[in-house]
């Protein structure tokens, strides 16, 4: 009888250790992406997502209204296809626009939604048409340099 209860305790110990390992592998590592919250899925296409990651927040007016469910690359349109999982409680018009924004200077990137004026709402499976890509620092710098160069040329022409 005592033997049996001792074995149960040892089994329990091994089980707890194994559960901890599984937790580390699944939840701390990147083996799964559990999303338990109920919501509806909306897809968006971006030219460039920058450093956006799955499970990043989707915000509207600064309030978290959903999460990024999935990010894929489409070799048809050569764009990033981002699937958003929006909370069922929030409704957005069909002509809502999506932007990739950054929180703080070094912070992580998230998607900002801006509601439009359409009377119909987005439903699961819809696509957000109007998007604005992430800011890429190199592109910004090259734009700045380019505009400076044209300014210099204009001055020289005068």
């Amino acid at each position: 009888m005592q033997r049996k209860s001792l074995d149960i305790w040892v089994g329990l110990f091994v089980l707890i250790g194994a559960a901890a390992l599984v937790f580390l592998a699944l939840n701390v590592g990147n083996m799964s992406s559990l999303s338990l919250a109920k919501g509806y899925k909306v897809t968006t296409n971006f030219d460039n997502i920058g450093g956006l990651k799955p499970r990043a927040p989707v915000k509207s007016a600064g309030v978290v209204v959903g999460r990024v469910a999935n990010i894929q690359f489409s070799d048809q349109s050569f764009k990033a296809v981002v699937t958003l999982n929006l909370d069922t409680g929030y409704k957005f018009p069909k002509d809502t626009s999506a932007k990739i924004l950054t929180s703080g200077l070094l912070g992580e990137q998230y998607i900002g939604l801006e509601a439009g004026g359409d009377t119909n709402n987005l439903v699961g499976g819809d696509t957000i048409k109007m998007t604005q890509s992430a800011m890429v620092l190199e592109n910004l710098i090259s734009q700045l340099l380019f505009s400076k160069a044209t300014d210099v040329e204009k001055d020289a022409a005068k």
Partner: protein, 259 residues
């Protein structure tokens, strides 16, 4: 004066070399005697119960509190750079790669190592080990080997528990108390922690620490002087040697696995 110094140096070197020799021989004897454990797995499970189950509470609570503190301190530092979303990554990486294996091994040396040394030392002082030999029972096989394997089995499990509870502690403080975004906490963690490079390395580390700490404890007990004072000294030596070995091995393994 000089002769005495020389004599001291000679004696220290000789005892050190003899000790290393004895330890190596004992390790081989343990490994050779381990085959017989398949026939009597009960001996090992009994020791897993004694070593593992009784260490659960101290390891679990320490993990939780280390996680709490990492959450607070990590937030304080990251906040200066406005990147407190990386808190999850910081907590998880420092626990899985470093603190989990090392702190668990130190606790393990204090909690399980000392009791192993004292138990075997007292068996020796009470001449129980000699009595076993008289009955043609190999004390290495009957007493030492089961404890060794139990320690090797228990240590990685305890370290994993420590890390898992630490991450939960960091989550409680970071997300629930301070208010870091929950999705960012987990997503940055999952984006940055690699299954092989980080988690598997931590498990390998903890297994090696398990071998080192358990073996040092058993060796100190087995080679202790069979007097109350000798057992006391052996127990102290277990903690000191095991802790230093763990820290040294930690540097060595980290440098080896660093890429």
């Amino acid at each position: 004066m000089i002769a005495a110094l020389l004599e001291n140096l000679g004696r220290t070197s000789r005892t050190t070399v003899t000790g290393v020799g004895y330890a190596t021989r004992m390790l081989f004897r343990i490994i050779r005697a381990s085959g017989g454990l398949w026939r009597r797995p009960r001996l090992v499970t009994d020791q897993v119960h004694f070593i593992g189950n009784y260490s659960l509470i101290i390891v679990g609570i320490s993990g939780l509190f280390v996680g709490f503190v990492l959450g607070l301190q990590g937030y304080y530092t990251l906040n200066k750079y406005g990147s407190e979303q990386a808190l999850g990554l910081l907590v998880a990486l420092s626990l899985v790669r470093e603190l989990g294996p090392v702190v668990t091994a130190l606790l393990f040396a204090g909690r399980a190592g000392t009791s192993l040394t004292a138990e075997i030392g007292l068996m020796k002082a009470g001449e129980q080990l000699s009595a076993m030999e008289m009955m043609a029972v190999d004390p290495i096989q009957r007493v030492v080997a089961p404890r060794f394997w139990a320690g090797v089995i228990a240590m990685p499990l305890l370290a994993a528990l420590f890390s898992a509870l630490g991450v939960m502690g960091g989550y409680l403080v970071g997300v629930k108390l301070i208010g870091v975004d929950e999705g960012a906490f987990w997503s940055q963690m999952q984006g940055g922690v690699d299954l092989w490079n980080d988690i598997a390395n931590g498990v390998i580390k903890s297994a090696i620490f398990g071998v080192a700490v358990t073996f040092i404890a058993l060796y100190q007990g087995f080679e202790s002087q069979p007097t109350p004072e000798g057992v006391a000294r052996a127990t102290t030596r277990t903690v000191v040697f095991a802790s230093l070995t763990v820290l040294f091995l930690d540097f060595l393994l980290t440098a080896l696995m660093f890429n």
